[in-house]
Symmetry: C2
Subunit: 339 residues, 2 copies
């Protein structure tokens, strides 16, 4: 049993904590939370043990939420901490994890040098084996890497150009914008996503541009891949259909928007309408010679959850195939057509 603590219980933290609870080889020690909001109340109802910074304990008690101890106490009880604190805060917590000799998984909002390796299950799982500190790349980078490494099975990838249309805020966020603008993020090229892909695929020729759009549901990537040699559309479709963590929405389903993808997830009974898979629109797959164009959607709230679970196992020396297969099975992650 790997004892896991999750520090930070927001969008990512709560999902990782619940995913950990579903793993046969892991035990959730508890979660670190700084404010006693609705998420904390629900966590308590679910029987999740809550730890809080010492100066926040009073606030929790006033809200009727039981605090099991400090963040330090929680870290002490764990073998590994998944740090899901806000961007940059993970680096501030690292000395605590270090001082107690604990392994830690960080999120993509941290700088790459917070960890020994940046991690993507389908690309470089083995580089995570035995590590003490792993950084799971961000949602957009996770989607890019999953897709690119999957496509690499069709042929050697020469270069990738991508336009990333980012969702502006998560559904729960009420103070972020824009609500009526397209915002270059940033105007300069490349966006940080290409650099982040290069933390895992170090030699890949990739340039990304990113634009924020006023929507909350999913990101969309328009990808242009040049292979070293000619590829066939059939091979591309086959490899995409046969790699769990990527799903396809077929032409027949007539699903061609993020709203319809999310509605399908709701209808399928997916918890919180999460779709942890990259969602490729089959109709968008265009192949001509060595050029491939495709469009896919990325559920920003949940796509990195399986990679966090895998990172914990990689640290503990469990082989890639075993971890990925267990994670997929326990979290209901599929391949093939979404419907």
């Amino acid at each position: 049993m790997i004892r896991v603590a999750v520090n930070g219980y927001g969008t990512i933290g709560k999902r990782v904590a619940e995913a950990v609870m579903l793993q046969p080889d892991m035990q959730l020690i508890g979660v670190g939370k700084t404010s006693p909001n609705a998420e904390a109340i629900v966590a308590q109802r679910k029987g999740i043990r809550i730890f809080a910074p010492e100066d926040s304990v009073k606030k929790f008690e006033e809200s009727g939420i039981r605090v099991e101890g400090s963040i330090q106490d929680m870290v002490k009880l764990a073998d590994v901490v998944v740090d899901a604190t806000p961007n940059g805060v993970g680096a501030e917590y690292k000395p605590l994890y270090e001082s107690q000799g604990k392994r830690a998984v960080f999120q993509g909002g941290e700088k790459p040098n917070v960890a020994e390796v940046s991690f993507s299950s389908l690309c470089n799982y083995d580089e995570g084996i035995g590590r003490k500190y792993i950084r799971v790349v961000s949602c957009n980078t996770t989607a890019l890497l999953r897709t690119i490494c999957t496509l690499s099975k069709v042929g050697k990838v020469e270069k990738v150009r991508a336009t990333i249309i980012r969702r502006a805020a998560d559904p729960k966020e009420i103070k972020r914008g824009p609500i009526n603008s397209l915002v270059l993020d940033p105007a300069s090229v490349p966006s940080h996503h290409a650099k982040d892909v290069n933390t895992v695929l170090k030699d890949l020729n990739i340039i990304t541009t990113a634009v924020i759009a006023p929507t909350t549901l999913m990101h969309v990537h328009s990808l242009n891949v040049t292979f070293k040699e000619k590829v066939s559309k059939e091979d591309v479709i086959n490899v995409l259909l046969n790699t769990p963590r990527l799903v396809m929405v077929s032409s027949k389903s007539k699903v061609s928007s993020t709203a319809e993808v999310i509605e399908t997830a709701r209808d399928l009974g997916r918890a919180r309408n999460d779709i942890k898979e990259v969602v490729v629109f089959e109709d968008s797959v265009y192949v001509n010679g060595n050029e491939l164009i495709l469009t896919y959607a990325v559920h920003q709230e949940s796509i990195v959850v399986p990679e966090n679970v895998d990172a914990i196992r990689a640290m503990h020396g469990i082989p890639a195939e075993e971890s990925i297969s267990t994670t997929n099975k326990t979290l209901g992650i599929i391949g093939g057509y979404l419907i």
Copy 2:
């Protein structure tokens, strides 16, 4: 004096009508309108003569709007009709224009075969010379063509790949969506924009993908251009800065979104906050070898207005340079930096 009638008085029609009124060599005969809405009331206040289908006259009179005659009457008085009726309706009106021997300018919502030539001032003005029927391509295609033909001055363009992030609705439209989704438009590749560019640049290797985003202000294009040979960033910037109908927003201005571009237009006193120029984000210009990446914004409501005015002159044999320069001067269209 070229006598111009504008049939259809919505987003494009009202702008073209006002642009025609500003031309020293044109006279606005009147506009064709089917419903007596706010736009009709304002048109009347501006002294624009309104013509309406015979079965709509009563509705106009009930709204206190004077109707000068039928659409047929209006067409009779004109040398040329600018058809700005909804998509596909222009083709239905064409027999009327034909039967009265009138020239006509159609919009990009019509099929290319509605006219003898699809038109973009900076690409193929001369092909419009002396024509009876010209189709001005749509807003997105106009922006693509202006940009590509301008970039062709830097070097021979080998291929273009573009991701078009479309605004979902115009500011005045209250029944269009989406309000919280990214919608592939369509999922299949290429989107119609590439085909439409090929109605003007027949041999260009271009593929476009389009996604609709929930915003009303402007479209954004992420463009990837491969030249036959190496180009320099300096040459690209220079040609973009020296071609009126394209403007640049500089790094210094810190403008990196459609909202800030529109706010600048408002602050500059541009009527209706229109920006008839393609708005290139200087920071987004990336050149490496023979590859160019850049991002620009497109004001969908007004970008085709100057091309409509030029199309009228091309039909009447007026040379490109003379028309473009007059149109730019009268409509306040600039080159260089927006601010």
